[in-house]
């Protein structure tokens, strides 16, 4: 039997959803125009007034918002509520240069957690369950989001956070975790570790909610089989709230977008033209219930397809495919956002040339990232210790910038092919994007 957290919303008629969206959109646009100079300027520039926005049909009149806008507005430029009403911030994984800080009022937190609760319910979660959260806690939205969602469902929540696999497995066995929440690659790693220890019969998992990075159907089958569970995808981004913007149901054929909170559009990334259902394009979100940090037509850079086809689960909210790619050069490695430009900045700061290549791979279900860097006359020394020391310094600087370990491989000067046009900076061997 299908579980819902808020069936009256999740299975509402399309007309009802549309009414909510029209009302909330008009209200949000009016509010940001009045309260946020940034939006006011942007709308004035585009010659749109709040009075022009009556319904979702008018959405296309509004200008887009990009990640660069968010960075320019850092930290308070897009804040739409008084700071005194805000109770939380969360931040994106990029640590330097690309920092984006999102604000939440208590009401925002409640709605976000409700979205996560819907995802947990869709995975079969009830107050009888033990929800094992090993997403990172802290500025990253993964841990806090699923943690809050689990509370709302009334499940016993294990705020494990990431790492310490021994302890994860021990708690899983001792406390009978039934729903696992983490990145798909960590789930695959846990599954292997459980089998290595011969503990597969000691675990009581029935479902997993895995997000924050791309994963394939093969990986889903692998995890489902090894852990004896159903594995559900979940999607979200910090800018919009965090995980739970959309989630998979029992049909496992795409993720239902919580349309009472977010209006989704798919656009042609080059022209900005809105595309119809079934066409592949860049996903754009407008949040219509957020108080502190509402985003209007935010370009996610994720490429996907929307579908309004009737779903066997009974939910009526539009479904999106897994992201099928990116319209920018952002990589997601171990759940962390990595921009090649960040790596370039570190290389230049450390005295290496900006000619480099990033090689991303997935080995034993775990992402690896290697940066090939050209040796120069200046960085070279006859002393191997000095060269290795500089290499280590570079590894440390990359770790400080990105928050993850990046393997550095020093190569001969000019060993990296210089292409005449756009340089091939990234080789992603993971083949994560299908379709």
């Amino acid at each position: 039997m299908e579980h819902y957290y808020q069936p009256e919303i999740e299975c509402a008629s399309r007309e009802q959803i549309r009414t909510w969206q029209d009302e909330r959109l008009a209200g949000t646009v009016k509010r940001v125009y009045e309260n946020v100079e940034f939006y006011r300027n942007k709308m004035d520039e585009a010659k749109v007034k709040p009075e022009d926005i009556h319904s979702v049909d008018d959405l296309h009149k509004l200008p887009f918002l990009t990640k660069d806008d968010l960075r320019d507005a850092y930290p308070y430029g897009l804040l739409a509520a008084p700071l005194s009403e805000c109770v939380r911030i969360q931040s994106t994984s990029g640590t330097t240069g690309r920092r984006v800080v999102a604000f939440y009022t208590q009401h925002d937190i409640d709605l976000w957690e409700e979205c996560c609760a819907r995802a947990i319910a869709a995975a079969g979660g009830t107050n009888e369950d033990v929800v094992h959260v090993c997403y990172g806690y802290g500025l990253f939205t993964g841990g806090p989001g699923l943690n809050g969602g689990s509370h709302k469902v009334g499940a016993l929540t294990l705020p494990m956070s990431s790492g310490n696999t021994e302890r994860q497995i021990q708690f899983m066995c001792d406390l009978g975790s039934t729903i696992l929440c983490c990145t798909p690659s960590y789930a695959a790693y846990l599954a292997e570790s459980i089998w290595e220890r011969g503990l597969q019969d000691k675990i009581k998992l029935k479902a997993g909610i895995f997000g924050a990075e791309a994963w394939t159907e093969e990986m889903r089958h692998d995890i489902e089989e090894k852990l004896g569970i159903r594995a559900y995808d979940i999607y979200g981004l910090t800018e919009i709230s965090g995980p739970g913007v959309s989630f998979e149901c029992s049909d496992q054929s795409g993720m239902h977008i919580n349309e009472d909170h977010f209006i989704a559009e798919v656009i042609n990334p080059k022209t900005g033209e809105v595309l119809p259902d079934g066409e592949k394009g860049e996903l754009v979100f407008t949040s219509i219930t957020k108080e502190a940090f509402p985003l209007i037509r935010y370009r996610t850079r994720d490429i996907c397809i929307l579908s309004h086809e009737k779903c066997s689960c009974g939910r009526t909210h539009v479904k999106m495919t897994k992201p099928l790619g990116r319209s920018d050069d952002m990589l997601i490695v171990k759940g962390v956002n990595v921009f090649p430009s960040q790596i370039e900045t570190v290389l230049l700061n450390q005295g290496y040339p900006a000619n480099y290549q990033i090689i991303v791979d997935r080995k034993q279900n775990s992402d690896t990232i290697e940066v090939q860097v050209e040796m120069t006359q200046e960085m070279f020394s006859d002393n191997a210790g000095i060269v290795a020391g500089r290499e280590k310094k570079l590894v440390d600087a990359l770790k400080a910038m990105l928050g993850i370990y990046v393997k550095v491989k020093l190569v001969n000067p000019k060993a990296i092919t210089r292409s005449e046009g756009k340089a091939v900076r990234v080789i992603d061997r993971r083949n994560l994007y299908q379709g």
Binding site: M375, T376, Q377, M379, F380, S381, D382, N383, A384, G385, V387, A388, E391, K409, L410, V411, N412, P413, K414, A415
Partner: protein
């Protein structure tokens, strides 16, 4: 008196060393001594050649990272205890070695040691006092 050592960065990958020696061969560079320091990913090839400037130019042109380092080349009798004698002399004066390697030539009963220290002058001075000779690059080149 120092000799000019050529150090070259080489990726730790099959065939890379042969690429380097191919260049040396093409330009008829004659090697006197060779040593390699390796890490997991790369190696540093150190050579003493007949013509260090030519070698350095060729390799830089071929795209290698190259450095020329003045090092000491010490002559010693090819018999037990010679190296110990040298190392003791340096150790007693608190001179530390970054690395070293040995080579032989056609000159019978004589062995050579390349020493990399921080202060060549001081080390040469210390060795001289103990009756240990350092040789010039011209001597090496002429061997």
């Amino acid at each position: 008196m120092t000799v000019k050592q050529i150090s070259v960065f080489v990726e730790n990958k099959a065939g890379k060393l042969a690429e380097l020696t191919e260049y040396l061969h093409q330009h008829e560079i004659d090697m006197r001594a060779l040593s390699i320091a390796e890490t997991q990913d790369f190696g540093i090839v150190r050579v003493i050649v007949d013509d260090p400037y030519k070698t350095s130019c060729i390799l830089k042109e071929a795209g290698y990272a190259v450095s020329i380092t003045p090092v000491l080349a010490v002559e010693m009798p090819d018999e037990p205890g010679s190296l110990n004698h040298i190392l003791k002399a340096l150790g007693d004066e608190d001179i530390s070695l970054e690395y070293m390697y040995a080579f032989l030539t056609r000159k019978a009963a004589t062995a050579y040691m390349v020493l990399r220290v921080e202060d060549n002058e001081k080390a040469a001075e210390v060795l001289k006092r103990k009756g240990i000779h350092t040789v010039s690059h011209d001597v090496i080149a002429g061997m």
